[in-house]
Symmetry: C2
């Protein structure tokens, strides 16, 4: 377990120490946020540097490469997809942020360009899992201690899931410290789940214990990076993670869940980002259906709460509490 | 594990639903906080009702009594001391709050009255543990996978520890949502540790697995109660937990750590409250030693950070991040 502790502290330290330099550098490049004109009164945030997510990526990559159990020959079967999905998802987000920053307008990549990039990553990863002897097409059903073989439908379903999770993560990232706090808690929950998969004999059939260790090392790096990043991202934020960061975190969450064959647990651990997506979808369909009525004052739903008079920090605290409670339930559900 | 999930949801629900009524009731009784004259500019908090901690107590008692594994004959060996230490510690805090509220001055019980009450609880509990076959005088040394027999010194050392932890908890409780957030994270960590003690065969020698289950059910109730209470305690707070609540939580933490024979883990999981105590002690001795110089602008150290210009919510986020990181290390240390 000394490796996992090392990974936690290293990714935390990298995020903490590269923070001030990265923020200075991004400011110099004028990579400031262009605030969406229709949002609640966040105009004072104009110019806050985005792409702060890069400091998390640095910590996660360094810590998970340095501290994974290198001696185990199968380690790359886990490390490679975890890093590939996270970093390629991040690349899509980075392209988006970069174009926004250079062109100085709210739109970055066109929606279709974004989706195309995400589809390539998601389908590639789902196919990889489907053919990997360590994963395959059978997912675990928590609470019921059973498995469900999705057969060939695994590929389209899990592709959709990955795209959905990455975009949910992206949509949640709209308030100072929101997504980083929620992901710090969620990644810690995944770490605990990995430790249990390693040590509890009754759970050995879920995932190879060595694979769980590699995944746990990766997820604890994510948790450490989020806590370090929060130092600069909490209200009032000195930097935003940007699509760069939110898609990185979404990719990491999806990759972990699928490799552990526990994608259903995302409904608990990543509930609040999923709620953000669902609120956007509901709002849009209701608007079309009723020709102009709205369910929420604004979507994603965290802006609805803002308009209702909750402060950013109140919403962050609420979402973190919900995530903590649901994460505990997720942990208990696999025992 | 369905019992622990039930305990979590019940204590959360009780704290959430009794909240508004309790706040109204306390306001009616004029049990408002009298803000310490020397503190940073918190005068606007004058009149915020204290003793909100009672809503946590209700949740914890109901959930841990209802959901503990009643069939196991040894359950009371755990439930009884957990509830006794928490509730008796709370009683001392309640007496303090009550006198403050009635007399409308900052001082409640005299320091000696408080300490006397705490000594009775702490010594009684340490003697109980010393003679209990389930606990005894041997404590676990995390990281080194070994034990240390304190012999008869167990009683004075653990009595001091309990008093120290209860007072640390009390000192930490000085900013909106601070202690409740930190304890929500810390109690979740203890819950995870209990689950591992139940399920990991290599850890069966630490604590009786059934005892770990009872303790885990209790601690998940504490976590749920803290999250529910946060709904009303986060900045800007509608109620404070008062000494009632902070001593309840401190007592719960100390009782759990000692019953699991892992008191050393309090240094990690309850680090920030301990830091509060240590900052007060350092400040006081340095002041005496130097005839008037100070290390911190103000102690406990969270007020130092406030004077340095950090907002309450920034400090809460920082302390929560530190607690999350150290809790993960604590969990890994016992594996």
């Amino acid at each position: 377990m000394i490796r996992m502790t090392g990974a936690l502290l290293l990714s935390l330290a990298i995020a903490l120490f590269t923070g001030p330099k990265l923020i200075k550098f991004l400011k110099k490049l004028h990579f400031g946020q262009t605030i969406y004109e229709l949002g609640p009164a966040h105009q004072q945030k104009q110019g806050t540097p985005v792409m702060g997510g890069l400091m998390m990526a640095a910590g996660i990559v360094a810590a998970s490469l340095l501290f994974h159990p290198a001696k185990w020959s199968g380690a790359w079967d886990y490390i490679f997809p975890l890093l590939a999905v996270s970093l390629l998802s991040m690349a899509v987000g980075f392209a988006d942020d970069y174009i926004k920053a250079v062109k100085k307008r709210h739109e970055g990549l066109s929606p279709w360009q974004k989706i195309a990039g995400q589809v390539v990553v998601a389908v590639g990863f789902s196919v990889y899992c489907y053919f990997s002897p360590a994963v395959g097409s059978r997912i675990r059903i928590p609470f019921f201690d059973t498995e469900w073989d999705l057969g060939i439908f695994y590929i389209p379903l899990m592709s959709l899931l990955t795209i959905f999770i990455v975009n949910s993560s992206n949509l949640q990232d709209g308030l100072d410290g929101l997504l980083s706090t929620v992901t710090a808690v969620g990644a810690s929950a995944w770490t605990v789940i990995c430790v249990m998969l390693m040590l509890v004999p009754a759970l050995a059939s879920v995932t190879d214990p060595d694979g769980a260790q590699v995944t746990g090392t990766f997820m604890i790096s994510v948790a450490g990076a989020c806590v370090g990043f929060l130092r600069y991202n909490r209200y009032p934020a000195k930097t935003f993670m940007g699509d760069t960061g939110s898609m990185l975190l979404g990719g990491a969450m999806a990759a972990c869940a699928m490799l552990l064959r526990l994608p259903i647990l995302l409904l608990f651990i990543f509930f609040t980002p999923i709620m953000s997506s669902v609120s956007v979808i509901l709002q849009r369909y209701y608007f079309k259906l009723t020709h102009g009525k709205r369910i929420f004052l604004m979507s994603p739903i965290h802006h609805h709460f803002e308009k209702k008079g909750y402060s950013e920090t109140q919403i962050v605290s609420m979402y973190a509490g919900i995530t903590l409670v649901l994460s505990l339930i997720a942990i208990l559900s696999i025992c």
